[in-house]
């Protein structure tokens, strides 16, 4: 099975019309016609993740985010960059293939980034969640206690909060990645990754918030790709404080 054949199967099962205009959801590096030995799903193609995938014998990487440190994976300013050369050479020498699935993942029903993110913060009932998710209710607690729970469950180190830690909260609104939801009066806590009448805002960090859903994506792909192993290979939480 080639990389191109894997992508064709995904397009067939994704459940939404494929947008050929998406600059995000394309092959980024490697030969799409190379034979796939195994597939790694990940939130971000970090160099560390690439090495772990290769060492596990998984030569096709399916990533939610970019490879070359900018959303369009534009490389014209990078041709003489030493890190770019190292990363590119590593991929090509090991006959790896990188393909991104971002826009279509957020259009899928459910959107696994939201499903995974809700599960990872301990909010129940989000198995069918889509982007622009609804408000979820949890047993009443304080913002500080809820934040501690989220931190413990996700292992986020880059985790930041805004609001009164003593405020009583029970209504949770979550947007993964950069899609921090509009703060509304309908929710007590808004969970996003990147940027209050809600009482609190919790920002998980991009990797931590969208990562869990890549395991759901791997599970989904196993339903229609049976010939090669598919594994979720996490990217590192980048922050040390």
């Amino acid at each position: 099975m080639t990389g191109r054949e894997v992508v064709e199967l995904i397009k067939k099962h994704v459940g939404v019309p494929w947008n050929e205009q998406s600059y995000r959801d394309t092959f980024k590096l490697g030969n799409p016609d190379s034979q796939v030995k195994g597939i790694a799903t990940t939130v971000m193609v970090t160099f560390g993740m690439l090495k772990r995938a290769n060492e596990a014998g998984l030569n096709m990487v399916i990533s939610h985010e970019d490879t070359f440190w900018n959303d369009r994976d534009e490389t014209k300013d990078l041709t003489s960059n030493p890190l770019y050369k190292l990363k590119t050479e590593y991929v090509l020498e090991n006959d790896m293939i990188i393909w991104r699935i971002h826009d279509h993942m957020h259009a899928m029903k459910p959107d696994y980034t939201v499903v995974g993110s809700l599960r990872s913060v301990g909010v129940k009932g989000g198995e069918d969640a889509v982007m622009r998710a609804r408000v979820y209710t949890i047993p009443e607690t304080t913002l500080g206690e809820f934040a501690s729970q989220v931190k413990r469950l996700t292992g986020s180190r880059g985790f930041r909060c805004v609001g009164d830690p003593k405020a009583k909260v029970s209504r949770i609104l979550l947007g993964p990645g950069y899609a921090t939801p509009r703060i509304t009066a309908d929710a007590d806590v808004v969970i996003g990754a990147s940027l209050g009448m809600a009482k609190g805002l919790i920002m998980l960090g991009h990797v931590v918030s969208e990562q869990p859903g890549m395991e759901d994506l791997a599970n989904w792909m196993r339903e229609f790709i049976k010939d090669v192993p598919i594994k979720f290979v996490p990217a590192d939480e980048p922050f040390w404080t």
């Binding site: 970090t46 985010e65 030493p82 501690s148 985790f159 930041r160 909060c161 980048p238 404080t241």
Partner: protein
């Protein structure tokens, strides 16, 4: 929106007409429109109606009792400004939570939110507070940071105690006393009075001597070109799938550099403190002061 449009028209009259006698210097109380006109004249350049800089709320015909500069006109900053009789507020960042800053945008640009709609309850409450307290809010970003003497960098350097450590006058490079990244970060936290907003990527035990300061945000090409020159970049905020990702990869290949983001607003506060001092030399006769917005973030236990 209607009120703001009216205010903008008032301002155009005030700023554009030499026969607008009530607004001429010395012929009456100094209005917000007059004060802004002086600032615009001093800074020069074009001030297009659809640019980010401009009046955001309040009536430009309001007589100015005092001027407050701030990195971001939060509700807390506005309350402090009202209390201190600083009724003209100059803010570096938006008042209404996005680049539209209270105006309707035809379509969202790029990723992220364009901001609240003008009929949003939070938007309305904030605008009502501004109007009820006779405040006037003007955004001053592009023209302030475009000054030859970039006080956003100079202000942050002074706040960190690095003013005399600049490598060359036209660059934001600083050679600081050698210390580990952890020690340098602890120093930065203390000097800037940060709570939970600082985040760092790289080798925490790496030795830091040369630092690049990037208050505000930083584009990926800047990161790619300049990270290899320094031991540490101190920036406001960056996108995590872009510059944070690059710093993580640089760490993976064994380099000991660090990318430290201190928070967008935290990085811009010292520069706006410098702005308050500069305003004194441009708009005389009314007090000018800086009001800090503070680090909004805390960390969970």
């Amino acid at each position: 929106m209607k009120l703001i449009n009216l205010s903008r028209r008032h301002f155009a009259l005030a700023a554009g007409s030499v026969v607008a006698a009530p607004f001429a210097a010395g012929a009456g109380p100094l209005t917000a429109g007059d004060a802004v006109k002086r600032i615009q004249t001093e800074l020069g350049g074009d001030w297009p109606d659809m640019g980010p800089d401009g009046f955001k709320a309040g009536d430009p015909a309001t007589p100015v009792k005092g001027i407050a500069t701030t990195a971001m006109a939060t509700m807390d900053v506005l309350k402090q400004a009202a209390k201190a009789n600083s009724n003209l507020v100059l803010t570096y960042e938006p008042t209404f939570y996005g680049r539209a800053d209270g105006r309707a945008l035809a379509a969202p640009v790029g990723r992220g939110s364009a901001g609240l709609a003008p009929d949003d309850s939070v938007f309305k409450a904030k605008r009502e507070f501004i109007e009820k307290n006779g405040l006037v809010v003007f955004r001053l970003r592009d023209h302030w940071q475009a000054r030859k003497e970039n006080d956003m960098v100079a202000g942050l350097a002074e706040a960190l105690g690095w003013s005399k450590r600049r490598v060359k006058p036209d660059d934001a490079l600083f050679d600081i006393p050698a210390a580990t990244a952890e020690e340098t970060v602890a120093m930065i936290r203390g000097k800037l009075n940060l709570r939970g907003g600082l985040r760092a990527v790289g080798d925490r035990r790496g030795v830091v001597k040369r630092v690049l300061l990037c208050p505000g945000t930083m584009t990926p090409p800047t990161m790619w070109q300049r990270y290899s020159e320094v031991d540490m970049i101190v920036a406001g905020e960056v996108r995590e799938w872009e510059n944070t990702h690059y710093a993580a990869d640089i760490y993976t290949i064994g380099e000991r550099r660090n990318l430290v983001t201190i928070g967008r607003v935290a990085s811009e506060e010292p520069g706006m403190r410098f702005c308050a001092v500069w305003i004194k030399s441009v708009v005389k006769g009314v007090p000018s002061r800086w009001i800090g917005a503070g680090d909004p973030y805390w960390r969970a236990a």
